[in-house]
Each structure stands twice: as C-alpha cells, then as structure tokens.
Symmetry: C2
Subunit: 333 residues, 2 copies
Amino acid sequence: MSTIKDVAREAGVSTATVSRVMSGSGRVSERMRERVLAAADRLGYRPNAMARSLRSETTRTLGLVVSNVLNPFFTAVARAVEDAAHERGYSLILGNADEDPEKEELYLNVLLERRVDGLIVSPARAESPYLAEVVEEGVPVVFVDRHIEGIGAPVVRADGRRAVGELVEYLVGLGHRELAVISGPPEVVSGRERLEAFVGAAQQRGVPVMEERVRVGDFRRASGAVAMRELLALRERPTAVFVANNLMALGALREVRRAGLKVPEDISLASFDDVSWFELVEPPVTAISQPTGELGAAAARMLLEMVEEGRRPRSLIMDAELVVRDSCGRPGR
Amino acid sequence: MSTIKDVAREAGVSTATVSRVMSGSGRVSERMRERVLAAADRLGYRPNAMARSLRSETTRTLGLVVSNVLNPFFTAVARAVEDAAHERGYSLILGNADEDPEKEELYLNVLLERRVDGLIVSPARAESPYLAEVVEEGVPVVFVDRHIEGIGAPVVRADGRRAVGELVEYLVGLGHRELAVISGPPEVVSGRERLEAFVGAAQQRGVPVMEERVRVGDFRRASGAVAMRELLALRERPTAVFVANNLMALGALREVRRAGLKVPEDISLASFDDVSWFELVEPPVTAISQPTGELGAAAARMLLEMVEEGRRPRSLIMDAELVVRDSCGRPGR
DNA sequence: CTGAAAGCGCTTACAG
DNA sequence: CTGAAAGCGCTTACAG
C-alpha cells in the first residue's frame, strides 16, 4: 500500500503538498493539484485515516451504541443516525450492547480508544458510572431513547406516558377491568416509565393492576413468551395485556397462538413500539408508535452540534402515538 | 486525555514498559506491572487505538458492508458476524450500502482508509471493479449471501435453488398453473438465482411463467407493493406469487390486503427469507428459510482465517429449506 | 526485565 | 504557493 511519500516522490513534490491536495485544504496551484492527483491515481493511493487522525486529533467518526440491533426500533434509529452523519461527512461505528451492561462498557471503550468524535448511546441500565466518567471527561455524548439520570448529556426520546394513558383509557372504555402488563426491566428508564405509566393510569381509573399480573421481561423476544405463558396460567387470567416493546410482543403473540387462544376474543393485546408487520398480523396489533426516524436524525444533529460547535443542546422529548387496530376487543367472560 | 508518556512519568518507568504492560506482550516484572496499572488507573488512561494501529499495522477491526440494514436477514447476519468477531477480540464496523453501489463504494473506501484487517461484503451488484481492485491488492475479503463472479474471494451463502424447485413442485402439486414472481434485481446474484430457479423449475414442470408475470423489484418493501399491484391488475391474474425476499413480501402482502383480497383463497403467496413474524401473519407465510446465523458466523470465521493465518479458505454453500405454512392453497377459479 | 530511540503516515505551523 | 521539519501516541527491535 503506497503512502504519502510515494505519491510525493511520484509527483515530484513535497508530502506537504500532497497532503494539502488530498485534504482539499490550503492553497495549491492547479498545476500541482493535477500532478498530485495523477500520481495518487497511478499508485492507487489510499490515505491512512489513522495517521491522519493521530495528527489532526479528529476522526470524523461517530459511535452509536444501541441496546439491541435485532430490535427493529433500534435498526431504524441506527439507519437514521447513519444517514444524518453521512450527510455531514461523518461515518458511524455501530456497537451492539445486546442489553448487557458489560458488553456496553466494552463497546464504549473500543469506541473511545478509537477516539470517535462523539457518542450516541441508548444505555442498557439506569446507571453507569463508566458513562458518567466519560461525559465528565468532556466526550460529547447524547442519549437516545433511554437515558441515565444525573448524567449531564442531552436526551432524545419519545415520552410514551401520554399514549400509554390513552391506551388504558381505551381498554377501560372497552370494558376491561383485568389488566396485565409485560414490562421491560425496571432498571431501564423506558422500561420503568412504560410500566409506571400503565399501572398509574389504571389505578387512576379505578382498575388497579394486580401484582401477579405484572410480569417483567428483558425486552427480548423469549421473555415475552415466558411472561405470556405465566399470565395465561393464572387462575384469574387477565382480559387485556400491554406489552412494553415489539420483540416481547412477538414472543407473547406466539405464545397466545400456541395456547390455542385467539386475540382479541380470548385476550386483548397491545404493544409499545409499532413495527411494519403489526398491521399484517391477524388481528392487526394495536400499538404505540414512536417517531423512530426523527429520533435518530435529531440525535445525530444534536451530537454534531456538540462536536462541531461545542454547544450543549437541550434535550428533546417527542410524543408517541396510540395506533388503534384490532387486537383489543370487549372482554368476553 | 492522558497519554502513554503521562503514565510512564506517573509510574516512574519508560513508555516501553507501559506499552508492554498495556498490551500484555513481553515480559514485565510483577512489581512494574502493578505500578503501571495503578498509574494508568489513576490517570484514567485510555490507549489511543489509532497510534497503536499506525505502529503495529493491525487494527483488530473487521468491516462488514451489508446491502440493507433494514432487512432482518442482514441484521441477523451482522449480529452473528459481530459475535464471532468479538469472541476473537475483533471489533466490527458496519456499513450500510442501502442497495446502492455508490454508497457501497464510499463505505468500502472509508473502511479501507481505516485499515480494517479484513472485509465481509454483500455486494449491491453483480460487478464491482472497485472491489476487484481491493481483492487484487491483497485485502482479505469474504463475500456473504451475494458474490461477484470473477473476483477471487471466498463466498458464504445459501443456495436457494433446490428449495425454490421444491416450492414450485409444491405449488404445481396444489394445482397452480398461473405462476408469478416478484424478483430481486437480476444484476444481483441472489436476485438472478432465485428468479432463474423459479422460472426454470416451472418451465421444467410444464407450467412456464408468462413474461408479464415476472416483476422485478429492488429487494425493498415498496417495490414489492408496486409489483403486487401490477400483478393484481393483470387481465389474467396469477394464482400464486413467489416473492424473492422478506421485505418485498411485506409490501406485497400489504397490497393484497389493501385490494381487499385474501391469501390464499384469492391468491397464494410464498416468500424467500423466513422471518420471525411470518408465522404470526394470517395466514402464516410459506417461506424458504436460510441459516442466517450460520452464514454470518462462517463468514467471520473464514475471514479471520485469512487475516490471521494468511490462508484462503474454500467457499461455503449451505442449503436453504422450504417451510410450508398456510399461505398457499388450491387455486380457486 | 527495562529503557533509549527510531519510526508508523500523516498534518501543520513556520519560513521563504 | 511550496517545502523542510516537528510531532501526534504508540510499538518494537536493539542493547544492556
């Protein structure tokens, strides 16, 4: 692989000139430019980004650590972040924490050792001394979807509380009194928020959720299935279940089917996180929809603002929306 | 951010010793080790990966360029590659070409400038002079899912031809004579292969696919919807449609529903690429399933073999499997 | 086992 | 506009 020296020799100029041509910075005569470009082309020169970054102290790279790539919510966010980054000439390194705080820390470390210019994180837990330190050090960080209280980094997320309240109202309106929830981990902000919003709204409307009808999953598919199995085994089976994300809803839906039951005749179900196939399922699934693309794009925009202008933008809380389809009906019994 | 020099000073040793301790290579006395570690810890030292790579000429990083992150097939592959890489101490930079050859080239270039140790690519098109050059230069490359003929890099993929043949047999057995296909781009190997396998098998069984019933999509959702709309508008509507990937199947299924038609009563449908929600749709979708996890893991394994041992492993072709569910029935008319 | 020093491939003041 | 040279933060033969 040829280096800047080879190009300089081939073109009969100094490495400084080659550098100026390649980076497009600094004044270079048209004649030199052409000579350098021709030489670089002849040699198949590809600048070494690491050498460049080492010297210039910037990598034009952003890091994104996502809780779970298999979750379509996060792939959509990642996609949006990537687009926004690309548009501004940044590339994106994606890390998948897989809902595991240790893996998350490992990835953060890898990204930081690579000296990414900034970091977008959707933390696996509600606490992270490591992340706190990183922000403390001055690394530009923005949280997306989930955040950690007490860490001074802006957040971009959808607040689902209003929509969850609306869902509860809708369910109660249909006649449901026996509510259940398959929650995400309470150690995760979004997990706790959705759980509390649901339980709180139910309480407020006079249909408190019995403790045994609150099942805690881990936002992954299998846990949704397990939780649903347990709910179906209850002596007093709930008439409606709220599932806190799309992956768990997939598991739960499967479990209902496996038990030979029907939605919504035997049990109503609604999910947080709308995904494209929800409308194809029979019956189409009622869900709370988040503006995924906007979340990702806003996170990228905010991070670049921090990186390039040294500003600290304000957090951005968007709204989520209840999309009523056919998976909730009147309770049968 | 502190450097190796700061740590050396703090510990009262040379930078060489710090380097040896941090990298775990070379003999260092226990006493030194502890002093260095303590100093590094006190300073919150984080080695600069770029400086390290610049010197050591290895990044312990792999690049993966995928045709479309929004396709669950590829996220599953990416996930498997990442796991395998991680296990061996490598990290992964993911690039999303978005089925666009230009974006693909841009990403390859970014990864190469970052001097990744090797590359896994699922190319957007059947040709790529750029990739040919890269392989020529000696960069370790393995193709996954799709490959480019004439480029001397090993491939890991599932050959769907047998399963597609089986599907045709199954459809013909159900009584279908009016077959249609929503194909991927013929410029993409997997697109062409699936199309040819389907058309060929149909021909062989005496039920040739009429030309107007061959619709070419781009493997993305919207194109599946458009193609299905066209098929449904045909004077002689087909009785069964084979869709060449899951994203287009999603679009096609939606379109059938929007037209107020029922699967399989009005039209039968089968898809390439099994995805988790296919069994939840009404009716559950008959599909051809690929061993996604194995594909990704094998690709990573092979690439590491090339990177670490300088060997050139043989291509690996796995089998795909027809999973019969309920989306194909006897033709009604 | 430990250190002094060269060098990886760039960029960037500093001169001219 | 152009070049010589220093230096980014590491690693790695080479001595001792």
